[in-house]
Amino acid sequence: MSSVRVLVGTRKGAFILSSDGKREAWEISGPFFAGWEIYHMAGSPADPNRLYASQTSGWFGQVMQRSDDGGKTWKSAGNEFAYDGVPGTHQWYDGTPRPWEFKRVWHLEPSLTDPDTVYAGVEDAALFRSTDGAASWHELSGLRGHGSGPSWQPGAGGMCLHTILLDPRNRERIFVAISAAGAFRTDDGGTTWRPINRGLTSQHIPDPNAEVGHCVHRIAMHPSRPAVLFMQKHWDVMRSDDGGESWREISGNLPTDFGFSIDVHANEPDTIYVVPIKSDTEHFPLDGQLRVYRSRTGGNEWEALTKGLPQRDCYVNVLRDAMAVDSLDSCGVYFGTTGGQVYASADAGDRWTPIVRDLPAVLSVEVQTLT
């Protein structure tokens, strides 16, 4: 029988939530790495028992962890992230040049085919790859070096590379997104890169239609249709039908189009989910009502999903890496909040129940569907 494993990274440790395919009864294990910030955990699609975790601390820096038994036991892995060559500078908040300096790993993306290959998106923004199971890391420096790097500026949360999408049909194509630079694509396995931000408009930057400088919060893709991308930008929910060559807004009837997370139904490529957040200065749901919005039309037409979610006095946030789906027949949707709740829906969002209510602030949620 199928089962699911939900990997939860929090401000004070990692947790693993497990259930059978019914997704009614849950077993909670953790905290792992108690007291440390776990920005992200991810499992290898090629070997579900191979997990990677990014463990960070303002005191002690970056630690990488690896499990070969589905999270029962962990071993420290390589944690040296050295920029390739002379790092150069990017722009600081005040526009002055500032040297690139590694701070932490925000996101891990294991290869679709090789358990030992994993990508890491880091702050200050860069993409690293390991091909030896996280023992060593090497920068794909064509991203920072393609030309616009010196003009990148950090977003409020830091200058982080937070999204990595591997094209399942074209192993040479990778999409990444950086706050606050925008989206980028390689078509040669990571050697060369270019910005893919045409159609994005950001009113808070000097040139609202600039090639780079957009605060992209998250991009999602359905594996059956990798040229179609969905984006939650700082403001605006966007869609591309041509691999990021151009974008159009699909915010439609959303009550606010600010937010962080976005994801796609596992079995319906035109069904997408966002969690609208009031604004960039008030990081909580509108009117104290936690609502996931679902579009079954690939955008523009959205419906509020409220059953089982708090509809009064709720002022949590849902961060960019804190929503995920499973791939069971009845698609499960999961998200975590800064209030420590992890909500699950086993029916594509119609009804929600909290798996746990009182974890530390949730930074990331990933789901493994195990068969």
């Binding site: 790495f33 108690a34 007291g35 440390w36 601390s57 005191w59 002690f60 630690v63 420290s76 944690n79």
Partner: protein, 98 residues
């Protein structure tokens, strides 16, 4: 023999119960003690000092014999009491943040 006391998070990371003892080649200095510590516990590399620059992380401090040695040069000799094992070298995470 050098005695070293790590902060709680690094003891957990290195799976050390209490203080650890190290044999250090040559003179006991911050650098030689940290070299020996990282050789014995490779998972600690990068957590106390930067991988590349070898600079102490800003929120990590070195105390011994009721003195703050954090700003001493890395190759300066540690106090005799540390070098002889009479006193431990305390590696401390600064009390800051939440």
């Amino acid at each position: 023999m050098i005695r070293v006391v790590l902060p709680t998070h690094l003891r957990a990371l290195a799976r050390i119960g209490g203080e650890t003892t190290l044999d250090v080649d040559g003179r006991a200095t911050q650098r030689s003690v940290l070299d020996a510590l990282e050789a014995a516990y490779p998972m600690l590399r990068g957590t106390i000092r930067d991988h590349v620059t070898q600079q102490r992380r800003p929120f990590v401090r070195f105390f011994a014999c009721e003195r703050d040695l954090s700003h001493e040069p890395p190759d300066a000799p540690l106090p005799d009491a540390v070098a002889t094992g009479a006193e431990p070298l305390l590696i401390v995470g600064a009390i800051a943040g939440g």
